[in-house]
């Protein structure tokens, strides 16, 4: 169960609420370690909500929990993750002379690690340079 997707990191209201409670607190960590997949891609990859997957690219890798969206909410081939330390560990430092790293539209590998528990606990931060 391994495949490639395009990752779109972005803001979410839950991430904003978690940020106000504290970036070192459970809620923020849980929100920023949740990877949203389209229904079709989840089926293709054999993944279900709460599964733990490794996402990686040439910059780094991290483990996140899957949330499968309803059909039509996300284009096929794309994944969404709220901004936070897990998404940052996949960003390249190259800014093409603008100061802005290309933070949207990164190709990532997604690999199933293990079954998880639905929305109960946050993943401990676990990142490594690739």
């Amino acid at each position: 169960m391994k495949g490639q997707l395009i990752l779109i990191p972005g803001r979410s209201s839950k991430q904003g609420v978690g940020l106000n409670k504290g970036k070192l607190k459970e809620e923020y960590i849980r929100v920023t370690t949740t990877l949203e997949l389209s229904f079709e891609d989840a089926q293709e990859l054999g993944l279900e909500t709460a599964d733990i997957v490794k996402i990686s690219n040439h910059i780094g890798e991290t483990e996140v929990q899957v949330k499968v969206l309803k059909e039509g909410k996300l284009p096929i081939g794309y994944a969404f993750i709220p901004y936070g330390p897990p998404s940052s560990c996949l960003f390249d430092g190259e800014t093409c002379g603008t100061g802005m790293p290309a933070s949207k539209g990164m190709t990532i590998d997604v690999e199933f690690i293990k079954k998880g528990v639905k929305k109960k606990t946050a993943l401990p931060p676990k990142t490594a340079v690739g």
Partner: protein
């Protein structure tokens, strides 16, 4: 005293009317706060959105040291002295952040970097920095949110998700409010959303265009060409994912409205093309003025990131990515912006104010800023990965809740803050005033040629 009267709690309550929420760039200044002055907490935030409520209601006075050096508690002045020494001893000091503090504090930042020959950059460089570059390239057809509320009958959001990032933008400024020339609120407006995802924002739209990822520039350029009389191409759907007929209908609506506005988000600035995308959008808004009144505005994120741009601009001439190493300000995104100076391992000291690059920057930049090659100084209101990794960490009070001052709303309108209650922590203004003074003293002692520049 009877048993019943023992149960009566007398709460020392304070009501703050027209308080400003500084969480996002909307800077809503109509919030009514109820403050428990004994416990020093805000118990109610009437009219605030979900983000505003979490901003106000989660604010507590934490029991922790004001200043730390290498994790050990120290007096504030010691931390400031250490920070000043680090900045003056560094070969390539940088200052980054400033988007979550007041303009009165921000104005001390450029002089600090000027005195130590460093580089100043705001969070704009990883937000709407490309839009800032595009402003210089094509200009900005601008407005205030008050104009939008009263006049706009065509409202477009492109590459942004205000339902989650600026929840009151719809109700307060752009979609549902009843304006002078839009008395029926949403019924008088056409709301268009352009995004690659069907976000919560798409739910309020009259027209939703689900664009192919990375094809913003193509669609914008088609619309620009249409302004000059060029037909929308037949293979429009193949190019950008939207049917030709839909784009033609959209163009007619844009042309025929009385007052059109496009708000754009980081879906444009963070995607391939970056400043070309923002530039194309603003050029389109300008082109549409051949037919009607049309404006465009970036939907800014942090509470006072617009203020940071304004302050750095009026002090140095440029909004972000400004270097003082030659004794005069030089602007060069890609060279003097923080992701670059860190990823290239150039910076050897970093003063981070009211922001959190260790949580949000690319991995190569985080690796450098947290390494022993770069001395990290953090001035922030909360514990963050950056404050935890810092060699010198100073905790300050929160703007808009504990301290007053001025912030700029996303449409460049300045707003005065009404704080709710005091904090035992010093304000950013107090800390930066002291740091500026100390850096200036050291700069004079070292006979730095650029010391004691005068700023307003």
């Amino acid at each position: 005293m009877s048993a019943a009267s023992k149960d009566i709690k007398v709460v020392n309550e304070k009501i703050v009317e027209n308080a400003t929420c500084t969480f996002c760039g909307c800077c809503c200044d109509d919030i009514t706060l109820t403050v428990d002055m004994d416990k020093k907490v805000i118990t109610k935030a009437k009219d605030a959105c979900v983000l505003g409520k979490s901003w106000f209601l989660n604010h507590v006075i934490e029991d922790k040291p004001i200043a730390r050096i290498a994790g050990k508690e120290v007096p504030l002045d010691d931390a400031i002295n250490e920070a000043a020494k680090i900045l003056m001893d560094a070969k390539f000091p940088i200052l980054y952040g400033m988007s979550d503090t007041v303009c009165e504090a921000q104005r001390h930042c450029a002089p600090i970097m000027d005195d130590c020959g460093g580089t100043i950059d705001t969070t704009t460089s990883v937000c709407h920095g490309p839009s800032g570059m595009a402003f210089q390239g094509v200009g900005e057809p601008t407005m205030t949110l008050g104009e939008v509320k009263n006049r706009a009958d065509f409202v477009m959001y492109w590459g942004g998700n205000p339902a989650e990032a600026h929840p009151r933008h719809f109700a307060r400024y752009a979609v549902t409010p009843e304006g002078m020339y839009t008395p029926n609120g949403k019924d008088d407006r056409t709301v268009v959303i352009v995004d690659i995802r069907h976000t919560k924002t798409a739910g309020v739209s009259d027209i939703f265009l689900q664009l192919k990822p990375g094809k913003d520039f193509e669609l914008l350029w088609m619309l620009r060409a249409a302004c000059k009389g060029v037909d929308i191409p037949d293979d429009c759907k193949d190019i950008c994912g939207v049917e030709k007929e839909v784009v033609e209908d959209l163009f007619q609506r844009m042309k025929n409205c009385n007052y059109g506005v496009i708000f754009f988000g980081m879906g444009l600035t963070m995607s391939r093309g970056r400043h070309f995308n923002s530039g194309a959008l603003m050029a389109l808004a300008t082109d549409l003025n051949e037919f009607t009144h049309f404006v465009a505005k970036p939907a800014r994120g942090h509470g006072n990131v617009t203020g940071a741009d304004n302050v750095v601009s009026w002090q140095t001439g440029y909004p972000f990515g400004v270097n003082f190493s030659r004794g005069h300000p030089r602007f060069n995104p890609g060279e003097f912006t923080t992701v670059d100076t860190l990823s290239r391992k150039e910076a050897d000291a970093a003063l981070i104010i009211a922001s959190d690059p260790v949580a949000n920057f690319p991995k190569p930049a985080i690796d450098h800023i947290t390494s022993d090659k770069c001395k990290l100084i953090s001035i922030d209101t909360k514990n963050t990965p950056t404050s935890e990794a810092a060699h010198v960490s100073i905790q300050t009070s929160t703007y808009g809740i504990n301290t007053g001052g001025t912030v700029y709303r996303m449409d460049d309108v300045p707003i005065s803050l009404r704080p709710a209650f005091d904090s035992p922590f010093p304000s950013d203004l107090e800390v930066l005033t002291k740091l500026r003074k100390k850096v200036n003293e050291l700069s004079k002692k070292a006979n730095r040629p650029y010391a004691t520049k005068k700023y307003m």
